[in-house]
């Protein structure tokens, strides 16, 4: 069976036709909102479109549910972060509120950072944020984490490298 990209897109079209409304119902049950369910169902298929390998459709529903689960948790993460962000924004003094453009960039940066840090262990996250955001010295961080300065550096390098690898996200 050829595994070219058009073939997999053909499979995707079938999947879409047969399972789209099921997927939307599945999402609606979990979200309680048909509007976002439609958006997220769309996201699921867009995500599948980006994949180049042939899509296995032996158990289409469980396959779709797996992808949908990850789209869903992304959605919740994003919502949570935006909420915390807006709450902080509301308490900021007028004079220092960034302009709207800066805010848009900032929020995107924060979502990217959040996604990167989530995949890393707690001490790595801490070392990275304390150094890059709070400006603590490596010595101070070493003391707080009860590790050597060399380890602190290793942590920061580890997290920073993941940020650099983000596809075009910073440049």
């Amino acid at each position: 069976m050829p595994s070219t990209s058009p073939a997999s897109h053909h499979g995707l079209a079938t999947l879409y036709r047969e399972q789209h409304s099921w997927l939307q119902r599945w999402l609606r049950c979990r979200l309680g909102c048909s509007h976002s369910a439609a958006d997220l169902a769309q996201d699921v298929f867009v995500r599948l479109l980006a994949k180049t390998e042939l899509i296995e459709v032996q158990a289409p529903r469980s396959f779709l549910a797996t992808v949908a689960q990850s789209v869903l948790s992304n959605h919740y993460r994003r919502q949570k972060l935006e909420k915390a962000y807006l709450q902080a924004l509301a308490t900021l003094p007028e004079a220092v509120i960034p302009d709207l453009e800066t805010q848009a960039i900032l929020l995107e940066t924060l979502l990217e950072l959040n996604a990167v840090l989530e995949r890393l262990e707690m001490p790595v996250r801490k070392a990275f944020l304390w150094s890059q955001l709070d400006g603590l010295s490596h010595g101070e961080i070493a003391e707080r984490l009860q590790v050597s300065i060399a380890t602190v550096k290793r942590y920061i390098i580890k997290a920073g490298a993941q940020c650099i690898l983000l596809d075009g996200g910073w440049s």
Binding site: R47, L89, A90, L92, P98, T102
Partner: protein
């Protein structure tokens, strides 16, 4: 991470190279950097094109992080990222949210908050046409939002941000509200733009009336083909509408002998981030009609016309510079 389509990325950077770039970033951020360290760093950069690429990314990353530390951004970054440092702090945030109640939410008008309460909005670079009741058509330019209040006596559209073009043949009074006051549409067409601290309005047919908020009646009437600016108290300026000024409604931007600096400021509305040019180039005169759907293409066209370099410090910081003269 999935690729986001055709970007500037060529070969992927291997993890060890990214780590080396971060290593050098930390080395160079140290209070005292020896000549030897600098030499090694340069050597490393020049050893491989991938090293240089990773270094450029590391620098972009570093500048993004340093803007995150500015007074306006740091509290936001901290609040957004804090929950991932401990479970307890997530709970604390929630408690804070409950304690703050509704009051903290009502105060500010950020783009995000506006999108929640607006009826229609467009993101940066977008252009939407919205068909409303009564054959009222609204076009939203980039980064704009409106809210509607329609009742049996009148139609009121509140422009929360950005710019809109109205076409309508409704028999009812039609108003556009901005931060500075109200604009009444007398003809079939009306353009309104919310700017920083003032409102700009024009009509190609039928004219319009303005009611600055603090002035009360009567209105100031404006003839068709004129652009007016007003603040809460009075009329600030009036001039004829330039040809092509509303070209955005056709997806175009038009310059007729405009200063390069002014043209870039206008173009910047259609893309995220900073767009500027070297001060020495600000007075170059730009003429032309450009499509708005791809502002990078516009920059490319400009750079070719004037022999300029388009420098991307980051994806969001673009500067036009004079091309070094090699002759």
């Amino acid at each position: 991470m999935e690729s986001r389509g055709a970007s500037s990325t060529q070969a992927p950077i291997p993890l060890p190279v990214a780590e080396q770039a971060m290593h050098w970033l930390l080395e160079l951020q140290a209070p005292h950097v020896s000549e030897q360290t600098r030499a090694h760093w340069l050597q490393w950069r020049q050893a491989d094109a991938l090293h240089e690429m990773a270094w450029q990314r590391a620098q972009a990353f570093s500048s993004r992080m340093s803007s995150l530390r500015s007074p306006g951004q740091r509290p936001l970054a901290n609040a957004a990222l804090a929950p991932m440092l401990s479970r307890r702090s997530a709970l604390k945030n929630l408690a804070l949210l409950l304690a703050a109640g509704g009051t903290a939410w009502s105060a500010r008008d950020s783009a995000l908050v506006q999108d929640w309460r607006s009826d229609f909005s467009s993101a940066v670079g977008e252009h939407h046409t919205v068909q409303l009741a009564d054959q009222i058509q609204v076009q939203l330019n980039t980064d704009s939002a409106i809210e509607m209040r329609f009742d049996p006596q009148q139609r009121v559209i509140r422009l929360l941000r950005g710019e809109m073009l109205l076409n309508s043949a409704t028999a009812l009074p039609l108003w556009v509200e901005t931060t500075e006051g109200r604009v009444q549409m007398f003809g079939q067409q009306l353009a309104v733009r919310q700017r920083q601290g003032f409102t700009q309005a024009s009509s190609q047919s039928g004219g319009l009336g303005i009611y600055p908020q603090a002035r009360g009646n009567p209105s100031i009437s404006v003839a068709p083909g004129q652009v007016v600016s007003f603040d809460r108290h009075s009329l600030l300026a009036q001039r004829p509408l330039r040809a092509g000024e509303l070209a955005w409604s056709h997806g175009m931007i038009v310059a007729q002998g405009q200063r390069l600096a002014d043209f870039l400021a206008e173009l910047a509305r259609y893309r995220r981030g900073h767009l500027g040019c070297d001060p020495s180039l600000g007075d170059l005169r730009v003429s032309g009609t450009f499509p708005l759907h791809d502002t990078d293409q516009v920059l490319l066209a400009l750079s070719e016309t004037f022999n300029l370099d388009v420098q991307h410090l980051t994806r969001y910081w673009v500067t036009l510079k004079a091309r070094p003269n090699l002759a």
